[in-house]
């Protein structure tokens, strides 16, 4: 089965919004909830994940002919773990406070299913430059989601952005937002908001999107429904 053909710009942009790893595919939720209590943490986590994803995608894509199919998952995990170790050491050396705040979650990038998913679904089948575009797009989408969460949680929960106070003394911070329940609530409300938005801009379904052998009858004033084609 040959993979669907996509243009380079689709490879790049797909992961940013339409197939956003966190907000649409719900992958990599653990870091998205755990380390987004401040914008600085979210940024560090996003950059580290971006680096690991890009590095592993490049390496997996270049080595795809050398990795036997039976042990490919173990090979991908080894490659990912190597890049995570590098990221861990660099963060510990450059920004020790943030490294301490993120704690075990840097090491846990290894089991971020988004990264392994991109290797298995994309990098292991495509040329290196496409894999790089895909990794950049997906990494940027992940970072976008993390910054969105981090922004909401820090502004509401601490009254600041990147540590800079935004409101006067009159603002009572919503402490709950920087505590664990706030992470669940923020992402839950974001998903509900996105679902509501999708609902509002729903357009009639294009016939092309139904599988072969199924035609679509669009009746006026009704939602499009698939109808089995008459094979008689």
């Amino acid at each position: 089965m040959s993979p669907r053909t996509t243009t380079p710009s689709q490879d790049l942009l797909r992961g940013v919004w339409r197939e956003n790893p966190v907000l649409v595919q719900l992958l990599g939720l653990c870091p998205a909830l755990a380390v987004t209590n401040t914008v600085a943490n979210a940024l560090a986590m996003g950059l580290a994940t971006f680096f690991v994803l890009l590095g592993s995608s490049l390496l997996v894509s270049s080595l795809k002919r050398l990795i036997p199919g039976e042990v490919r998952i173990s090979a991908y995990i080894l490659i990912i773990a190597t890049f995570v170790t590098i990221a861990d050491m660099v963060l510990a050396a450059v920004v020790p406070e943030i490294h301490k705040a993120l704690g075990a979650f840097i090491a846990l990038i290894v089991v971020n299913c988004m990264i392994l998913g991109r290797q298995e679904a994309f990098a292991s089948k495509r040329p290196v430059h496409r894999a790089a575009l895909d990794a950049i797009g997906t990494g940027a989408g992940f970072m976008l989601a993390l910054l969105l969460m981090g922004g909401i949680r820090e502004v509401l929960g601490n009254g600041s952005f990147l540590g800079v106070p935004l409101f006067g003394d009159a603002f009572e911070p919503w402490i709950i937002m920087i505590l664990p329940p706030g992470g669940f609530f923020t992402l839950g409300l974001l998903l509900l908001g996105l679902a509501g938005w999708e609902e509002r801009k729903k357009v009639p379904v294009r016939p092309r999107s139904w599988p072969h052998g199924v035609t679509v009858q669009v009746r006026s004033g009704a939602v499009a429904e698939p109808v089995e084609a008459d094979h008689g």
């Binding site: 939720l29 995990i77 080894l78 773990a81 170790t85 075990a104 846990l108 392994l116 998903l191 509900l192």
Partner: protein, 191 residues
């Protein structure tokens, strides 16, 4: 003994892996639709967590003393291969148990709760016995969270929820409420 009990209860309630530390969210969201499935997933998790803890203690004591920078790589490789071996062994020795746990065993390999446990255990300097109780507590906490969530979701199935909320958004809000409830355990050991 008292200290071991403290580690157990603390890992299970105060620092619940799923609801407070955000570890193992994928199974929490994925297989929490039915109570029966949730229980089986929890059992498989306790099993793998206990084995992982013993292996991590062994690695820390005998192998990684000379090469701490290989910790992450060796943990993940050993855990992944171990889960495979355990899966094969269970399939051979107890087909009934294998059917019960089924596809959950391999899925657990990429569950961040497992690697998280090994790393937390190392960072806190737990020995083999302490680590084992930590793993049991973490597993019990995961199971508790899974079963609570599954019960809530079975109930929600019958409720009249707006179409917009019939996705993961609602599940996350529910998880937030559960997490809020678990925050209440935070003061348990203050005295």
């Amino acid at each position: 003994m008292g200290e071991l009990l403290l580690i157990f209860v603390s890992a299970m309630l105060v620092n619940n892996f799923t609801l407070v530390l955000f570890l193992g969210l994928c199974p929490f969201m994925g297989v929490s639709a039915k109570v029966g499935t949730a229980l089986r997933m929890g059992a498989a998790n306790i099993f793998v967590l206990a084995i992982t803890s013993l292996v991590a203690s062994f690695l820390n004591a005998f192998v990684l003393v000379r090469a701490p920078y290989l910790r992450l790589i060796s943990f993940i490789v050993v855990i992944a291969s171990l889960v495979q071996i355990v899966e094969m062994a269970i399939k051979k020795l107890s087909p009934a148990l294998f059917r019960e746990l089924g596809i959950f065993l391999p899925l657990i390999t990429t569950n961040c709760a497992i690697l998280g446990l090994a790393i937390f255990q190392t960072n806190r300097g737990y020995g083999a016995l302490e680590g084992f109780f930590f793993a049991l507590g973490a597993g019990a906490g995961l199971t508790l969270a899974l079963v609570l969530m599954a019960s809530l979701r079975e109930r929600i199935e019958l409720a009249d929820v707006p179409a917009v909320a019939r996705n993961m958004g609602l599940v996350l809000i529910l998880a937030g409420s559960l997490s809020l409830a678990f925050m209440g355990f935070a003061g348990l050991f203050s005295s």
